[in-house]
């Protein structure tokens, strides 16, 4: 591409050893990838200029997948095989997934993480999320022109260990090197704080498609210190859609809908919710598979009423976070709004009322998390010293151990700055006891049954002693990703048992290996589609370059006929570029390239002479 190679003399196009790293916001509704280029964090668009990738994966009978807009378009037609909002299933068992009856999927009931039966076989939420991540990885590698050193993946701050581990597994499965799991509100605070040179105590209210976080941060002299975080990992925009959906069922006296009707109405409900952001009312229409016509008018007031207790549910965690940070509303200097769901006027109003100030909306709530993650990825990859700022985050939930009588003993309290470690000593309660089982739990409640069980393991080989004589030290370590590992050690003999918590809900390494193998089957197709996308990208870049060159120098350097001839070839390439015919695109690219060789030469001469003017000989000699 001769035209693209013209750059200003003296400006080197090759940056010195820039390591490609990205930030990925793996969202419930949409996902994004961003990177820092020339010191500026920017979201990377797909070939069609879209920043948001709908977090929708459709499985086809031949084992191939459709991801994003294409899958989203078919969600009502093929609801069972088109998975939306998969993030809500990450690290979750079937019992945890509320309102299962209203979701158009075939759930597989089994211990551990919930699985979905699709036309391409049973899929875990980790595999489905990996498809989304893979798409973003390819987008990034294409647009940056090389392999990624690593990625920062964001997670809701209130995600527990199982959900975090599942996210990390998905990234691994997508072939990404995870530099860090970063809490979403913290990522937003980085983007906001660095942009605004903010100092003081800020609250980040992050209501996404399926999760809710509140984080209180202290920003001072380049240190981002999370003081407290709280939230609800099962509260988001989806729930608001769901309220509208239930209202539709009620007023239209509908029951037992098919999967595709369910998905259709959920889609309409979401559109209605979005319309009510700046309209007093909206009409919801749909034709069900039975032929029945739905035509209902929903007013803003009715919607506020329907969603009232969802809004309230997001206010309770605010109080808790403030209390944990030993702060009052008056200490909060600003409230940053993050997540598409914060566009809802009732949310804006409730948050303003609680904090007694107008929330800040000056960053795009859909993009700010990815932008912050990219800034952190750039530092973690070693592209800048990073000495000028520091991030101190916390763990969202207390971690404990089961003691006698099914009670929880907290070992690491919530909101401890990570990385952190705590040890506690336990003893045997029977004479000659040689084994002790350790049950690791996460949560704030006193009863083990009310907390999340993370793992169980046994310490064996304790030397027989009288009850109470053995000293067993159990150590909990949380790393900078917020992931837990636990070890137990008998102090006198040094018998040791150690695990990284994952078995209950996570995937064993062997399972990941198998999934990687399975995905290799599709590698061939992936390579072909990658080649096609690369060809399409080259075409797009060439079209843009030629058009820019024509606009700039066409009239000055070319005759009308020459210009027309080039424009015709541009038109051909535009028409071909959107097709799936890689060879045809390649041919059109070559033709346009050939047609512009002379023009490129003329531009080169012109730019050289332009550059030479204003310089004296001694400068050029050097």
């Amino acid at each position: 591409m001769a035209l693209l190679q013209i750059s200003e003399p003296g400006l080197s196009a090759a940056p010195h050893q820039h390591r490609l790293a990205v930030g990925i916001d793996l969202g419930t509704t949409n996902s994004l990838v961003a990177t820092v280029r020339n010191g500026i964090s920017a979201v990377l668009n797909d070939e069609l200029g879209h920043a948001l990738l709908p977090s929708v994966v459709r499985y086809l009978a031949d084992g191939s997948t459709q991801i994003g807009v294409a899958a989203q378009a078919l969600q009502s037609e093929d609801p069972v095989n088109t998975i939306v909002s998969v993030k809500r299933f990450m690290g979750r068992g079937l019992a945890d997934v509320g309102e299962v009856v209203n979701l158009p999927y075939r759930f597989v009931d089994q211990p551990g993480m919930v699985q979905l039966r699709t036309v391409a076989g049973v899929k875990s939420p980790v595999e489905i999320s990996a498809e989304i991540l893979k798409t973003l990885r390819q987008r990034a590698e294409l647009s940056l022109g090389g392999d990624l050193v690593g990625a920062v993946i964001t997670v809701p701050a209130y995600f527990d260990d199982a959900q975090r581990q599942a996210t990390k597994d998905a990234a691994k499965l997508a072939g990404l090197n995870v530099l860090r799991l970063l809490n979403e509100p913290t990522a937003a605070a980085i983007a906001y704080g660095l942009d605004n040179a903010a100092e003081g105590i800020y609250a980040v209210y992050d209501l996404g498609g399926g999760t809710f976080d509140i984080s209180i941060l202290k920003l001072s002299k380049g240190v981002f210190e999370v003081l407290a975080t709280n939230g609800d990992s099962a509260l988001g925009g989806d729930d608001f859609d769901h309220r509208i959906y239930c209202w539709l069922l009620e007023i239209n006296k509908l029951s037992a809908l098919s999967a595709s009707d369910t998905r259709l109405l959920l889609t309409r409900a979401r559109a209605a919710k979005e319309a009510l952001t700046d309209h007093a009312d909206t009409r919801i229409t749909a034709i069900l598979s039975s032929g029945e016509v739905i035509d209902s008018l929903l007013t803003q007031q009715d919607f506020y009423q329907l969603s009232q207790n969802l809004v309230t549910r997001s206010i309770q965690p605010l109080r808790r976070a403030l209390r944990d940070a030993s702060l009052t509303v008056d200490d909060i200097k600003g409230v940053v709004m993050v997540g598409g769901s914060t566009r809802m006027p009732q949310i804006q109003r409730a948050v303003a009322e609680f904090f007694r100030q107008t929330p800040l909306n000056n960053l795009d709530p859909d993009k700010v998390v990815a932008l912050g993650a990219a800034i952190q990825a750039n530092v973690l990859a070693g592209n800048r010293s990073g000495d000028d700022w520091l991030l101190l985050d916390v763990c969202p939930l207390s971690l404990g151990i089961e003691t006698m009588g099914g009670l929880t003993e907290k070992i690491i309290p919530r909101n401890s700055t990570i990385p952190t470690a705590r040890a506690q000593e336990f003893t045997t309660f029977k004479d000659g006891q040689t084994a002790m089982s350790v049950h690791v739990v996460q949560g704030e409640r006193e009863l083990v049954s009310d907390c999340r069980s993370l793992a169980r393991f046994e310490l064996r080989g304790i030397p027989p002693m009288v009850a109470g004589a053995a000293r067993i030290r159990v150590t909990y370590q949380i790393d900078a990703d917020g992931l837990l590992s636990v070890s137990a050690r008998e102090q006198s003999k040094g018998v040791e048992a150690q695990i990284t918590v994952k078995p209950s809900y996570g995937l064993a390494d062997a399972e990941i290996a198998k999934m990687l193998q399975d995905s290799a089957v599709h590698a061939q197709e992936d390579m072909q589609s990658r080649a096609l996308r690369e060809q399409q990208l080259e075409a797009t870049q060439l079209i843009e370059a030629v058009q820019a060159a024509l606009d700039q120098d066409g009239a000055a350097l070319l005759t009308d006929t020459e210009q027309q001839s080039i424009r015709a070839k541009v038109a051909t390439l535009i028409a071909t570029a959107s097709s799936a015919d890689q060879l045809a695109i390649k041919r059109a690219v070559t033709q346009l390239n050939e047609a512009t060789v002379a023009f490129a030469q003329m531009r080169m001469d012109k730019s050289m002479s332009g550059a030479l003017m204003g310089h004296n000989i001694s400068e050029l000699d050097r």
Binding site: R320, V379, L380, G382, L390, P419, T420, A421
Partner: protein, 177 residues
């Protein structure tokens, strides 16, 4: 940069080993240390370096958390002087202190039953006032009189109040639900 994981927490932050400390200086030195050892500074380095960073950063966090909270700081200072507080086993307390504790507990329980937020808030205020007074006494015992046995007794009293404060916090949580 390597942090000596064997040194005491006060030396780590360049502070004199006393109960009353300059908390602004503690925070400043904590941040300076974390800027050197935090895992984020080593994310692109070898696995060994990353592991060392995690250990050192964990140590710095533990030290900071211990010195930041007065009761933890007092307890730690006492262990440096070879005095254990034996909070789990030694629960002998003056009668009036215990009576006061029982009164508070009863008040908390009935306020919770009646879902009376204002009573719990009053209780929290009283607890904080009493706690401040205890910390004053601790400062005198530890920094002026160097009476560590008395200090241990005061830490045990503080622990009683701390437990009650935890229950008050749990009560707030419960009323939220």
């Amino acid at each position: 940069m390597q942090v000596d994981l064997q040194q005491d927490f006060f030396s780590l932050f360049n502070l004199p080993a006393r109960f009353n400390i300059d908390s602004a200086l503690l925070e400043q030195n904590y941040r300076a240390l974390q800027s050197q050892v935090h895992p984020d500074k080593f994310a692109h380095r070898s696995e060994t370096e990353r592991r060392v960073a995690m250990q050192q950063s964990t140590f710095v966090n533990e030290a900071f958390q211990t010195l930041r909270k007065p009761i933890d700081r007092a307890r730690y200072l006492l262990t440096l002087h070879g005095v254990e507080t034996h909070e789990e086993t030694n629960t002998a307390m003056p009668l009036d202190f215990l009576m006061q504790q029982m009164d508070w507990r009863e008040a908390l329980e009935s306020a919770l039953a009646a879902r009376d937020l204002s009573v719990i808030e009053d209780l929290e205020n009283q607890l904080q006032t009493d706690n401040r007074a205890l910390l004053q006494q601790l400062a005198t015992a530890l920094d002026v009189e160097n009476d560590y046995q008395q200090g241990a007794g005061l830490v045990r009293k503080c622990r009683f109040l701390e437990k009650l404060a935890e229950e008050v916090a749990a009560a707030f949580d419960e009323l939220d639900n």
